[in-house]
Structure formats: structure tokens, C-alpha cells
């Protein structure tokens, strides 16, 4: 297929200009390329991609960026205003000038993938591809074939990072679109604790393709909170898969906040491999225009006494399309597990569409599982009740939409992240009514 060939050609071009690499990387690139070539881009006949049209990517002519250029002023405006250990990538390339790791606690290392490879490629070799195999999807294969940059994060046993680690992926407006294939590797040692934020954002007018693969290993008792804040410009295409391996008593919490892009597909897979392991998946997607926002999650309960909990909210306006597929697989002998899934969707327009499918596959008999999906519109009675108090219709709809997202948003512990989402969901609503100040005042009153 010529669409696939275009990407393979880019790969050959890159191989010709790239310096010598360790044999293992070359072998993996080859395996990735071969798998990608064999699978091709998924079409609607592939169940996992049934509702997601990737022709915008397949037919695109994406080069690899050769330089990371981004005006510091516009980068500053896009950056989350929080104290953090931050690595920034522009169109996939590491941007040292826009990065600031600050002082990392002992036992914690955060490095760009390129540097980690240069320093000790064998250690990276053990992690790259351990959780995300080239068979997972054509895009994972493609990422493996191209992966050169990204981040390697290691937490020694017991290490606690108080500030979030932010990986900021900036997409720039260019005359010709580019693609990037970042790879993120996290090894969280026993009882370590950290918050990782993957932030995709860019300049208006950008129309690039980013294809991210992240592999997160949580050792015994590790606690990792992962935020994905995707607010790419409307011309961007974004594919990401997040692969998590959880040992005994580890806790993984994911906030998957998808707001931007023409197409954004997220796969999140966790393997609950040890007793007491817990995974929480929270998500919010808000689509407008003709956006397509697709989330597939999978929790594999591979051990007894493991727990998963999922709550996703979808809001779709105009002709946007949302896809949610949440799957839980409980292996034989994985007794006394608990798995709960919920997906609620709000359609703000008649032409918006949601395809939601919670799935349970249970091969054990002593389990506690639930799942549910609902789709509805804004409550007309509530709109009337607000208007009958003098609130204009747009504000009433904004307040109610924000309220719909509230159940997920109130769990978001990082205010700067919550504010970005609130602004996207309700326009300038929170600012206009100074809701934040109001809440503080009300709390003060209550405490008096």
C-alpha cells in the first residue's frame, strides 16, 4: 500500500542520515517497520478501529522535524503554570532551552531518551518494548521503528517526587507538516511515588502528527499518578498508547483529558499482576467541530485481589465524534477482584455522535464487577430553571456542561490542569463569574 510505503521511505531516509546505532536498536526498528508494513494502517474492518478513520494520518505527507524551534513567549503561554520538573519537546525533538528539571530528589532521574541512550543504552534496551510490543497496533510498531527521542524516568525504591514531572510536547505551525514518535519509559521502584504529566499542546495552525508510546513499570507498592492533558491545535493528529505493568500493592491513577486535535486516539492498558494492585482510570473528552476523540482502555486482572475503577465523561458538540471502549478481563483464578466501569456522555448537538462500549470478560467466579454507559442531552428543565433566575441560555448551558464534567474534574488535584479543562469546557465562564474566588469565600464562610 502506497500510504504505508510513504512512511517506510521516511524511515529509510532517516536511517541513511542517522549515525551508527547499537545492534539491538537497529533490530527493534526493523521489527517495528516489518510489523507496520504487515499490518498497514487500520481500516474500519479492524474492530479496535471500527469508528476511527485514520486516513488523515495515512494520506498525510509528514516529514521528520530537523530543528526544534518555538518562540519562548508562545511556549510560555502554553506551559502549565506550575512548579515542576519539566522536559519540553518541539515536534518530537528535545528543546533544552524550554526545559527545566530543577533539582530532582535523590534516587530520581529524568532524562531525554536520546541522552539516556548515549549514556547507557543497554539499560534503556531492557525497558524499551518490554510492555509495548510491536504487535499491539500498527502505530506502536511505527513508533518503535522511528523512536529516537522521548523520556526515561527512573525512581529508586522509596523515592518520592513531590513536584509533578511534566513532559511537554509542543506542536509547531509549519509550512509543511511533521511527525514525531516519542517514547516514554518509566520505572517506578518499590514504594516510590510520583506524578507524571504528559501535556500535548501547540500553536494555532499546526497540522502535525504525533505518535506517542509510553511504558510504565510500577514495582511493588509504587504509587504513580499519570495525567494526560491533550489540548493540541485543531489540525493535529495524535495517537498514543500507554502500557502499565503493576506489581503487588501498586496504585496507578490515570487522568486522561482530551480536548484538542482533529483526531486523538488513546489506548491505556494496565496489567494488574500482583495482589493488592489498583488501577483508576478517569477521563474526560470534549469534542467540537468535526473532532474525533477515541479512548480504548483495558484492565487485565491477572492476579487475585486486584482492583480497577473507571469513570469517563464525554461531551460532544457540533459534529464531533467520541468513541469509548472500556474493557476488563479477569483471568481464571483471579478471585476476589473488583472492577467497576462507568461512562456517561453528553451530546450538545443533534449531529454529535458517541459510540460507547463497556466490555467485561470474566473467567473467575468470585468477582465483583459492574459497568454502565449512559448518553443524554442537557436537562431542559434545568436550563429553564436557570434562565428563570435571569441567567442567559449560553451561561446556563455552560454551567450545566461544567457540572457534568464535575464528577471527574473534582478528582483532579492539580488546579492548573483543572482550570485548562474548565476553560475549554465552559469558555470563559469560570473567570467571568469568578467561580474560584467564590468557592474560597464560601469555604471561609462555612468555616467561621
Amino acid at each position: 500500500m502506497s500510504e504505508v510505503q510513504g512512511f517506510l521511505d521516511r524511515l529509510s531516509e532517516r536511517a541513511a542520515t542517522r549515525g551508527a546505532e547499537p545492534t539491538w536498536i537497529a533490530a527493534r526498528r526493523q521489527a517495528g517497520a516489518a510489523r507496520f508494513e504487515a499490518l498497514g494502517f487500520p481500516d474500519r474492518k479492524v474492530e479496535a478501529w471500527k469508528y476511527t478513520d485514520v486516513r488523515g494520518i495515512a494520506r498525510g505527507d509528514f516529514a521528520l522535524a530537523e530543528s526544534a524551534e518555538f518562540s519562548p513567549a508562545s511556549a510560555a503561554a502554553l506551559t502549565l503554570p506550575i512548579a515542576a520538573h519539566r522536559l519540553t519537546f518541539v515536534d518530537g525533538l528535545f528543546a533544552p532551552a524550554l526545559s527545566d528539571l530543577g533539582e530532582l530528589p535523590a534516587g530520581v532521574s529524568v532524562e531525554p531518551l536520546s541522552q539516556a541512550l548515549a549514556a547507557n543504552h543497554e539499560a534503556v534496551g531492557g525497558a524499551l518494548g518490554r510492555l509495548a510490543g510491536v504487535d499491539f497496533s500498527p502505530f506502536t510498531a511505527l513508533n518503535t521503528a522511528f523512536a529516537e527521542e522521548g523520556a526515561v524516568i527512573r525512581l529508586a525504591p522509596g523515592a518520592v517526587v513531590e513536584r509533578p514531572i511534566v513532559l511537554q510536547f509542543l506542536s509547531s505551525a509549519r509550512s509543511a507538516p511533521v511527525m514525531s514518535h516519542p517514547r516514554v519509559l518509566v520505572e517506578a521502584g518499590a514504594r516510590s511515588q510520583a506524578t507524571l504529566i504528559e501535556h500535548q499542546v501547540g500553536e494555532e495552525g499546526a497540522a502535525n502528527f504525533s505518535n506517542l508510546v509510553s511504558e510504565l513499570l510500577l514495582e511493588r507498592g509504587a504509587i504513580l499518578t499519570h495525567y494526560k492533558l491533550q489540548e493540541l491545535p485543531q489540525g493535529d493528529h495524535h495517537i498514543a498508547s500507554l502500557h502499565v505493568d503493576q506489581a503487588r500493592d501498586s496504585r496507578f491513577t490515570s487522568f486522561n483529558l482530551n480536548l484538542g486535535g482533529a483526531l486523538a486516539r488513546n489506548d491505556i492498558v494496565t496489567d494488574l499482576n500482583g495482589q493488592g494492585a489498583e488501577a483508576n482510570f478517569f477521563g474526560l473528552f470534549f469534542g467540537q467541530g468535526r473532532q474525533v476523540l477515541d479512548t480504548h482502555t483495558l484492565a487485565n486482572h491477572n492476579a487475585p485481589l486486584t482492583f480497577s475503577n473507571e469513570n469517563y465523561k464525554g461531551i460532544l458538540d457540533d459534529r464531533a465524534r467520541g468513541i469509548f471502549n472500556g474493557k476488563v478481563i479477569v483471568k481464571r483464578d483471579s478471585q476476589k477482584i473488583e472492577a467497576h466501569q462507568n461512562n456517561a456522555n453528553l451530546l450538545l448537538s443533534d449531529r454529535a455522535e458517541i459510540d460507547t462500549k463497556p466490555e467485561l470478560e470474566i473467567y473467575a467466579d468470585d468477582v465483583k464487577c459492574s459497568h454502565g454507559a449512559t448518553t443524554g442531552q442537557l436537562d431542559q428543565e434545568a436550563i429553564f430553571a436557570l434562565r428563570a433566575r435571569g441567567i442567559d441560555e449560553a451561561t446556563a448551558r455552560g454551567l450545566l456542561t461544567l457540572a457534568f464534567a464535575g464528577e471527574v474534574m473534582e478528582r483532579v488535584a492539580i488546579d492548573a490542569v483543572a482550570e485548562r479543562v474548565e476553560l475549554a469546557v465552559a469558555g470563559k465562564l469560570p473567570e467571568r463569574f469568578n467561580l474560584a474566588g467564590l468557592v474560597e469565600a464560601a469555604v471561609a464562610l462555612h468555616e467561621e
Binding site: F384, A385, R387, A388, G437, L438
Partner: protein, 250 residues
């Protein structure tokens, strides 16, 4: 202040109001009573602008403005507020957001700026104390999980904060125990003023023991068939509606 002339309203093709006339002047408290199905709730719904009610004839004017030409929110901002019979639950929208958004919308319409936060909190604090409500209520979602009495108190609280010119109260007494009734009635009575009017729709005389109306109307089959003073309500309580029907048929 409010003038309803020859009002005919149909709901899903059914003729409910059939030439209703009503005049409410500033400073007055009016009560509209009547049997079930007479059209009491239809009247308040039409005045507030609820969808699904078709006015086929007649007019409603408020301070000289054509109410039927006004958007729902414009009516509220002009000072025409409906207290709901069944206040709707709005999960996720905190009471304090509603109060502030509504008050600022009204102020904007009046050409005033946004209310400063300290002034707003002082006002709210005073009003919730008057309604014997706990401050924690401000952080709760509008009416969510509220008891019947709490919902009605909340309606009156909104009135106290928004200070309407005409408070339209649709069966504000339904579902209230005697203590809640007293708090609600105190709230309504505190709204009485020379430049304000109150129009209550009620099924029972009970409410009128606490809020004495200046004028009582009997609404039967889509029309006001009899009007009188507070004594009329007592007579209705004692004798029912049949005699009014007979009298008006005669």
C-alpha cells in the same frame, strides 16, 4: 404592575386557560385558589415563559412591557420571578454559583457592575440565616438530595437575594411541615413592600393563615370566577368550591 387580559392558553392542543383576567397592583398580595386542573400552574408557567404553552389569545403586561415578547431570562431580570412548585435538581451546579450568576445577571441588566465578593457574601450570609439554613448548603448542588422543605426554602432564599418586583409563588406550601411552613411564610412576608407584589397560587387555605392576602381569586376551568378578600379563602376552606361553581353558572 401585572395585567393579564383575556388570556387563552392551550397545552398540547388542550384548552386550559379560557379568558383569564387578572390585575395585580404594587404593594398587594394576591392568592389564586382553585380545584385541581383549573389551570393554576399553567398561569404561573405562562407568566414565567415555560415552553410547551401556547397563548392563543390575550395579553400579559408587566410594568407596561409585553411579557409574552420577552425571553425567559429577560422576564427574570425585569423582576418577575417564579418560585417553582417542584424545584428542579441541578447536579454539579453549586447553590452559590447559581445565586451569584443570577444576581450579577440582574445587576448587569440594571446597568450595575458585578457585585463585589465581600458585599455578596455579607448579603448571602444574612439571607441564609434568615431562612434558617446552614452555610454548608451554599456548597451543595442546587436542590440535589434536598428534602421537600429544603427545596422550598431554597426558592425563597433565591427570592430574598434577587429581590423581585413580582414574586410568583406556585404552590410554595406543598410538601411543607408546620415548621418549614413558618420559615417559608416568614420569608415571603419579609418580601412584602409598597413597590412589590406577590402572587401566590395555592390549593389550600393553610398557607393563607401565615401570609394574609389582600385579594383572593377563585380559578375554575380556566377563568377567574370570583374575587374577594381574605375572608373568601376561609369560606372556600369551609364550603369547598362547588358553591362558587354554582354561583358562577347562575
Amino acid at each position: 404592575m401585572l395585567e393579564v387580559k383575556d388570556l387563552h392558553v392551550t397545552v398540547e392542543g388542550k384548552h386550559i386557560l379560557k379568558g383569564l383576567n387578572l390585575t395585580v397592583a404594587a404593594g398587594q398580595v394576591h392568592a389564586i385558589m382553585g380545584p385541581n386542573g383549573a389551570g393554576k400552574s399553567t398561569l404561573s408557567a405562562v407568566i414565567a415563559g415555560k415552553e410547551g404553552y401556547e397563548v392563543t389569545q390575550g395579553s400579559i403586561t408587566f410594568d407596561g412591557q409585553d411579557v409574552l415578547e420577552m425571553e425567559i431570562e429577560e422576564r427574570a431580570r425585569a423582576g418577575l420571578l417564579l418560585g417553582f412548585q417542584y424545584p428542579v435538581e441541578i447536579p454539579g451546579v453549586k447553590n452559590i454559583y447559581l445565586l451569584k450568576a443570577a444576581l450579577n445577571a440582574k445587576r448587569e441588566a440594571e446597568g450595575l457592575g458585578e457585585i463585589p465578593a465581600p458585599e455578596f457574601m455579607k448579603l448571602i450570609k444574612e439571607k441564609i440565616a434568615f431562612m434558617k439554613m446552614d452555610a454548608s448548603f451554599l456548597q451543595r448542588a442546587v436542590n440535589e438530595g434536598f428534602s421537600g422543605g429544603e427545596k422550598k426554602r431554597n426558592e425563597i432564599l433565591q427570592m430574598l437575594v434577587l429581590q423581585p418586583k413580582l414574586a410568583l409563588l406556585d404552590e410554595i406550601d406543598s410538601g411543607l411541615d408546620i415548621d418549614a411552613m413558618k420559615v417559608v411564610a416568614d420569608g415571603v412576608n419579609s418580601l412584602r413592600a409598597a413597590d412589590r407584589a406577590i402572587l401566590m397560587v395555592t390549593h389550600y387555605q393553610r398557607l393563607l393563615d401565615h401570609i394574609t392576602p389582600d385579594v383572593v381569586h377563585v380559578l375554575v376551568d380556566g377563568r377567574i370566577v370570583k374575587s374577594g378578600d381574605a375572608e373568601l379563602a376561609k369560606e372556600l376552606e369551609a364550603r369547598g368550591y362547588d358553591w362558587v361553581l354554582e354561583e358562577s353558572a347562575a
